[in-house]
Each structure stands twice: as structure tokens, then as C-alpha cells.
Symmetry: C2
Subunit: 239 residues, 2 copies
């Protein structure tokens, strides 16, 4: 298992400080020569390091040492900007598109509406210190937010919900699993097709329990650490 040795070799380059956060690793051909192996085996080693979040790829640009990840609390109403700032990053957002669409099967299930129900769809790319880290797809129940697309929705939807419509989030249901990045989502994140991803799906409700929207988020795994505290509901023994 030569690739494990190589993996540890590269990891020690990082731990020893010869490679620092956001720095590009040497070219694959140079690393392959340095570790006396071929590119295929080298990439096996780098892919494993990537799975551990220590390094990541930028499509056609090479491998980079991953900086500390942002702490993401799915149970908080804090939006991306607030969570990023708390972790010492400079957040930014880019609106990819915003339009009215019919709900797909997946979205219809999340929003608990029939397929093809008209909803607002808002696609955004978000960055930390100008590094793209997540693509979000929001789907919004139209009747709760008439004329939503006329507001400034690039930065924070939660702010608009609260300030323009007096409908802040009060409850959220979230799902987290692993996935992969494909197509335009991968491109926006400067990731190679098929790169691993963290998939976060949320359904958000306001104080009265009314369903407001859902969002589907594709995160670069190295950029996120999910963290939260919960007071647990003790269930009876016979549950």
C-alpha cells in the first residue's frame, strides 16, 4: 500500500509547515517523481487526503492545502454571512439566477406541495475569502412572499423574510448526507466533476408553523464542519 505512505508523506509536508493553507501543491508529475511513483498511484493518495479534508482540488488548477473550515450550525437562524464572520472569514455571495419555476419531484416532496406547483427558485454561489464553498438552491412558496424577486436577494433571504415580510424562521428541519458535484454546480465551485460534496437540505418554517421555503446546499466538504448543541428530548424506555 504505497499510496498510504505517499499520503502520509504529503500530510507531513503540510503538518511540518512546508505547505500552508491555500497554497498549491507541487504538480502531480513533480510529486509522482518525488515519491517515485506514477500519477495514478499519486492521485489515489491525494484523493484519500481529500476525503479527510486536508487538501482539495480546483478543477484544472491543481491541489491546494485546505484552510480551516467554517462552522455551520443547521439549528441556527444565523445566515451564511453571520456564520462566516464568526469564523473570521469574509463572506460574499453571487446570485446565479432567480426565477419562477414548477416544483420538481424532489422539491415538491420537501415543500409538501404537488409537483409543478409554481415556486420561486433562487440559485446562489457563496464564498469565503473569495473561495467558492457552497452552491445553494432556494425554493420559496410564492404566496408567502409575493414579489420576492424584486428585493435584494443576493446576500440574505432570511433578512428579506424578516425585514420585508415580518416572517422570520422559527423552526427548521434538516437532512445531511454525502453526495458528489456534477455539471454547473461543480463548475461554480471550481471543482472537478464527481468531486465529493456535503449535501444539506433544509425545510424552514415561521413561528406559526407555516412552511416558508426549502434549500438544497452543495458544500465543498473541506469548507464545512457541522456543529451544534441540542437539549435533548428524553424519550421513554419503551419507545
Amino acid at each position: 500500500m504505497q499510496y498510504i505512505t505517499i499520503k502520509e508523506g504529503v500530510a507531513s509536508l503540510i503538518d511540518r509547515g512546508e505547505l500552508t493553507a491555500n497554497k498549491k501543491l507541487p504538480t502531480e508529475r513533480a510529486l509522482a517523481e518525488q515519491f517515485q511513483t506514477t500519477r495514478v498511484t499519486l492521485r489515489e493518495a491525494l484523493t484519500t487526503l481529500e476525503a479527510e479534508g486536508k487538501i482539495h482540488r480546483e478543477d484544472r488548477r491543481g491541489w491546494f492545502v485546505s484552510p480551516p473550515s467554517m462552522i455551520y450550525d443547521p439549528t441556527s437562524t444565523n445566515n451564511f454571512n453571520v456564520m462566516a464572520s464568526k469564523c473570521g472569514f469574509v463572506p460574499s455571495s453571487k446570485l446565479i439566477q432567480a426565477k419562477q419555476v414548477g416544483a420538481s419531484q424532489e422539491v415538491a416532496e420537501l415543500l409538501n406541495v404537488p409537483v409543478d406547483t409554481q415556486v420561486y427558485r433562487i440559485d446562489r454561489l457563496r464564498m469565503l475569502d473569495d473561495r467558492p464553498v457552497v452552491v445553494t438552491f432556494n425554493y420559496v412558496i410564492m404566496e408567502n412572499f409575493p414579489g420576492l424577486l424584486e428585493h435584494d436577494i443576493e446576500s440574505s433571504l432570511t433578512d428579506v423574510y424578516r425585514d420585508q415580510y415580518q416572517k422570520p424562521y422559527a423552526k427548521t428541519h434538516f437532512q445531511i448526507k454525502t453526495s458528489s458535484l456534477l455539471g454547473e454546480t461543480a463548475q461554480l465551485l471550481r471543482a472537478s466533476t464527481g468531486s465529493p460534496a456535503m449535501l444539506v437540505q433544509r425545510v424552514n418554517y415561521c413561528a406559526e408553523g407555516v412552511l416558508l421555503d426549502c434549500d438544497i446546499e452543495f458544500w465543498r466538504p473541506h469548507a464545512i464542519k457541522i456543529e451544534s448543541t441540542a437539549s435533548v428530548i428524553t424519550t421513554t424506555k419503551n419507545n
Copy 2:
């Protein structure tokens, strides 16, 4: 991007029902021939499908169609057995080892104690329908549970905490990120070295806020879907 086509080809075999849950895929050589490619490219395709949770590898045994995943609520005190049963699986556990050790750097930070503080360490392998899905490492503050190792700790620590010591969980702090499986952990899960994993770390407290234990869990990604509902704490605008 031939491997994307192959990936979709294999995915459609599954969606069309030609391959069903827990069934072994044809051998790599057979699939490579079927899709007119080499094993290297085929494995690229299968690895991407694995990242999406549709299939998984068992070390030296081949690729298998992944069954539905278990829904895991990190904010719940429900233990593994309860969560598994709710999802229709038959849970089982195997005690790997239980002993007294000095806290490592990582564990010391989680438990907020000095390095080398004596703690109980309990390693277990847990299965759904006899498929190994997670390896858990529990580290327990000794003074809260004197003589803990004399109880039946194979199945459920939370039950022992509650029934034998009257100290149920009341609060939990959790972290989730991606990682990879190595060494004995990989072997226990019948996974290949370097396979992707979901890493869940928890710190658990009792009602009085006393820190009880922490656990570090390495999950097979295909076997778990994290899901929870939270009433969110609305923060002020100037936070």
C-alpha cells in the same frame, strides 16, 4: 468523460431494478467489458456512484447496491437500537474492547480534561441487518460512572447511564464532517482502506450540565442520513 456515461449506465441498472438492494454488482472485469472500457476507468465511475451513496464497496468482496440508509438524529437521546428499529432494521452490536486509558490530545479536548487523564474507553461495532455500518469509540469520565465496565455495555451505554447510574443524557454537542476509513476501523466495517466516512463526534451532558462522555463515530456514508428538526433561536439583527 466516459466514466460519467458508465456511472449513469450502472445507475440505470439499479433504477430499473436489474440490481436490487444488497445485491453484488457484476465483477469489475465483467463491467469493464460490458461498457467497453478498462478497470481503471470503470472504478472511476463506481467511485463516483459510491460518493453519492448508491453503491458501496466491501473490501475484496466487490461492489454492492446500497440499501436505504438509517435516519440518525444527533439531537435525540434515542440510542442506536431505537433509531435502527424505527427505520425497520434489526440492530446488533459487538463489543470490540473496553478498558481504562489515558486521554489522547483529541479526547482531552472533547472532554475538557488534561491529556492523559484516566478515562474508560469503549470500542464497539454496530450493525444493521448484520451489515456493519459504524464503529464507535466512547470515552467516559470515570468519576461519574465508577465500575462502569462491570455492566453490560455492549448494547447501549445510554441505558446503563440512565438505569444503573440515574444519569440520562440531557444535552449534546455534536460535530459532523467527512473523513476516511483506515486500519482496524476499515477492517471492522469490511471497508477498503481509504474509503470515505462520515465522522460524528459528540459530547454528552446530563441534566445538571455535568459532562458525561464523548463519542467518536465512523460511519459508512451510504448507511446514514442525518436528519433533525430544531426550533431555532432567533438572534437579533446586530449579532
